[in-house]
């Protein structure tokens, strides 16, 4: 039912987007697994991993756009939700290493062994069950968002004040996870994963599957976000973004709406993180660093805030640029990236899709 309700509301660009992502989700793994290496159609493992990473970033950007683009909540701490999801998954991957760690300790991860921990901290209990870990990957970011939002929105912390406290949250978490006493591996974080649900993380098929899953997650996230923004609730969100007090006087309890969308978005970010970790093979506190969260904001801005596909595209474009530039012009690439950000804000204030999207596909950017 949701589906058909959506179908009616999709612009051409969005249909194209869905088709593209779905296509990738199917074709890339196929081309990677079935095509012989060296054939024109073959997609290298490196490419699969890279694309997988971008899909996760895209989902993160999407979740950020949901709160920022549609509800005017600029979160400078969305990286925190992403990282928490990642850690939840990372902890599962650590636990499943079992006796294959260098010290062959069945219970304790390696870093605990050589830092001479005696028993497993309670925070690590149950993370050997995939189900539990997957649940936590969504629950923990959700819960954090709920608590933070509950207080912040009720006491009407808005605008830049909200942005800064979200930044404070992610910064505090970064420092906390740096502390080895926290028992999350300190600066080295969690690495050296062996397998996930019995499949080798390094294996080509696992990679392909993870990529496909990431792509599907992106589609799922898109569908959810689209469902929200195109419902009447979506109207309320934009109303809040444009005239918060007015919305109150019509009788909408603004804080509840913000809380709802903030939590949904955090959960999406958490899922993105959980899919990200097994593909890049490491999670460490620098994922919490404020700079990362700001970058995510920039992806959204580049792609076009308030346009879901824009957010996703922005994430992919910026990261593709990064991947290319850091290899092509390693010593000066920051100039290029910096210039890109400046130019986009100056000349494409509504982002790439926001500006061209409407021209090309008659896409209504603010809806």
């Amino acid at each position: 039912m949701i589906v058909q309700r959506l179908a009616g509301r999709l612009g051409i660009s969005e249909i194209a987007f869905i088709a593209a992502v779905a296509g990738l989700a199917v074709l890339v793994p196929l081309a990677n697994l079935t095509m012989p290496e060296g054939s024109l159609l073959h997609v290298s493992n490196a490419t699969v991993v890279l694309f997988g990473k971008w899909m996760c970033y895209a989902l993160l950007a999407l979740s950020l756009d949901l709160v920022w683009g549609y509800c005017g909540i600029l979160s400078l701490g969305h990286g925190a939700f992403f990282a928490l999801g990642g850690y939840a998954m990372g902890m599962y991957l650590m636990r499943t290493i079992g006796t294959r760690g260098v010290y062959g300790n069945a219970i304790l991860p390696d870093f605990m062994v050589f830092l001479n921990w005696k028993e497993l901290p309670y925070t690590w209990y149950f993370f050997d069950w995939f189900g539990y870990s997957a649940l936590m990957a969504m629950l923990v970011p959700g819960a954090l968002a709920f608590v933070l939002g509950w207080f912040a929105f009720r006491s009407r912390v808005t605008g830049v004040y909200l942005s800064i406290i979200t930044q404070a949250v992610t910064y505090a978490l970064q420092l906390a996870f740096f502390r080895n006493d926290m028992g999350f591996g300190g600066n080295n974080g969690l690495t050296d994963f062996k397998d996930i649900l019995g499949f080798q993380v390094q294996a080509q098929t696992t990679r392909a599957t993870l990529f496909a899953l990431s792509a599907l997650a992106l589609l799922g996230g898109f569908a959810a976000a689209k469902a929200i923004v195109s419902s009447k609730l979506g109207l309320v969100l934009i109303a809040i973004r444009d005239a918060e007090t007015r919305t109150r006087f019509i009788g909408y309890r603004v804080e509840h709406y913000k809380l709802f969308v903030f939590v949904v978005s955090a959960v999406m970010a958490g899922i993105a993180g959980a899919l990200y970790v097994p593909q890049v093979g490491i999670i460490n506190p620098s994922e919490f660093s404020p700079a990362n969260s700001i970058e995510a904001v920039i992806w959204v801005a580049v792609g076009g805030r308030g346009t879901l596909i824009g957010a996703a595209l922005g994430a992919v474009l910026v990261n593709a640029a990064k991947t290319w530039l850091t290899a092509a012009i390693p010593t000066v690439w920051l100039f290029a990236l910096g210039a890109l950000f400046i130019l986009v804000t100056l000349f494409l204030p509504r982002g790439i899709v926001g500006t061209f999207g409407s021209k090309l596909f008659g896409h209504r950017w603010s809806k």
């Binding site: 081309a31 990677n32 290496e37 060296g38 024109l40 159609l41 073959h42 997609v43 290298s44 493992n45 490196a46 490419t47 991993v49 890279l50 990473k53 006796t99 294959r100 760690g101 260098v102 010290y103 062959g104 300790n105 390696d110 870093f111 062994v113 050589f114 830092l115 001479n116 420092l175 740096f178 502390r179 080895n180 300190g186 600066n187 080295n188 974080g189 690495t191 050296d192 994963f193 390094q202 890049v280 093979g281 490491i282 460490n284 620098s286 593709a320 990064k322 991947t323 290319w324 850091t326 290899a327 092509a328 390693p330 010593t331 690439w333 920051l334």
Partner: protein
């Protein structure tokens, strides 16, 4: 551009990363790529950029000598931007994209940890030039920096013997290298009969810039009537403010000497060292070392970097040793094939800059002399003590619970990174 097209269309990803097949698909005489994986931007650029330049210099130098096996070398430089997942991505790109024969790179442990699986999966070679906490031995990594027993323990011995230190402050940045090193030192000191109350351990965050409180703590700890020394595993960036505070609060080396494991000529270049004269550093190389090899190296470096003021430091020597070892091993193996080169590496020995020969051990760590030096007013470090012979890097510390029974030997038939002598099993394969 060529490279991006390959990325996006995934056209020519032939033999993804299988470096062993690489030579076959390369015409003889075509240049061989050598990966340089050091951060040129972000927080670590401060230390790593220099290593990038050294690699360029060494490669240029080798090409002047006619390259290896009649093939010129070509540096493939990328910028992982002090971002750990990006390190992994770049490593993969170097190996399977650019088909490098070997990679020289990484500084922080976390960056090494993040690329390790990639190198193992694609069976390529990484040379890691920085002193580190040990507790690791990979088939695909050659550790040319110091293990704790090649730096920390001799330093402590020296302080005990020649400065009669009885009381110890172990100050470090809160990450794995200081944590592990301090654990090892703590165990070692206790073994030497130092009591718990004579050991103060203190951790600070990265880039900690306000040292007033801690320096005062140290002062207080040192005023209990016993000779006190500080063993500093403070990470590069935080050292400048730390030493500035030391100098300002007037902690002179003759009262409370500070011995540092992460402070070399490069870090000192950022400080006025006059107040620090006499504080110590433990490394395997100092720029002040008076040998013809070193003089020659420094001359080349100044010529290459076009700045006679630039200093040299220990990780640079590590790359110098590692690179020459790789060259030798390739010649020995007669091919660039990673598998063959890895086997050829063990046993290779090349001259280091301190007047000895360093050799690659079966545990993929190398033999080095250990030098203790005192900081001079001109930012140089003068040797005041050095081990009579070379010390073998000990990957699995004998002073840690988990690892004292582990050994590593990559020679066939054992070829195991963490063989447990008690159980007789090779860990990680269970």
């Amino acid at each position: 551009m060529r490279f991006t097209r390959r990325r996006f269309l995934g056209t020519t990803a032939a033999v993804a990363g299988m470096a062993l097949a690489a030579p076959s698909i390369r015409a003889q005489g075509a240049p061989v790529k050598v990966g340089v994986l050091h951060s040129l931007s972000g927080t670590m650029a401060i230390s790593e950029t220099t290593l990038k330049d050294v690699m360029l210099m060494l490669i240029e130098d080798q090409n002047k000598k006619g390259g290896i096996l009649g093939r010129k070398l070509e540096a493939a430089v990328v910028d992982p931007a002090s971002n750990w997942p990006l390190f992994a991505e770049k490593a993969r790109e170097l190996i399977s994209g650019q088909k490098v024969a070997a990679t020289f790179g990484c500084w922080t442990s976390v960056s090494r940890k993040s690329v390790l699986p990639v190198f193992e999966e694609l069976n390529s070679i990484l040379f890691y030039p920085v002193q580190y906490e040990g507790e690791e031995s990979s088939k695909n990594v050659f550790y040319t920096g110091a293990a704790p027993n090649q730096q920390a323990i001799p330093a402590v011995d020296y302080l005990m013997a020649s400065e009669k230190v009885q009381r110890w402050v172990l100050a470090g940045t809160d990450y794995v290298y200081p944590r592990t090193t301090n654990r090892i030192l703590e165990a070692y000191l206790k073994l030497k009969g130092v009591k718990q109350e004579d050991i103060l351990i203190n951790y600070t965050p990265f880039g900690h810039s306000d040292w007033q409180t801690i320096v005062r703590q140290i002062k207080a700890f040192g005023s209990q009537g016993k000779k006190t020394a500080v063993v500093s595993t403070i990470n590069g960036d935080a050292n400048v403010p730390f030493y500035k505070e030391l100098g300002n609060q007037g902690i002179a080396a003759k009262d409370i000497p500070v011995v540092a494991f992460s402070v070399g000529e490069e870090e000192l270049a950022g400080i006025d060292t006059k107040p620090l004269v006499g504080h110590l550093a433990a490394w395997n190389y100092f720029m002040s070392i008076d040998t013809p090899e070193n003089a020659d190296f420094i001359k080349k470096w100044h010529a290459f970097i076009k700045n006679p003021k630039r200093v040299t430091n220990d990780p640079m020597e590590a790359h110098y040793i590692g690179f020459n070892m790789w060259v030798k091993a390739v010649e020995k193996a007669g091919t660039f094939d990673a598998e063959a080169v890895i086997d050829a590496m063990v046993g290779v020995s090349v001259p280091n800059l301190t007047g000895g020969m360093s050799s690659m051990m079966p545990n993929h760590h190398i033999t080095k002399p250990v030098l203790i030096g005192e900081i001079q007013g001109n930012g140089q470090i003068n040797t005041v003590w050095q081990t009579s012979g070379l010390v073998v890097g000990d990957e699995w510390s004998d002073y840690l619970e988990g690892s004292k029974d582990l050994i590593s030997d990559w020679r066939k038939p054992m070829s195991c990174g963490n063989f447990n002598v008690k159980t007789g099993k090779c860990g990680g394969k269970a």
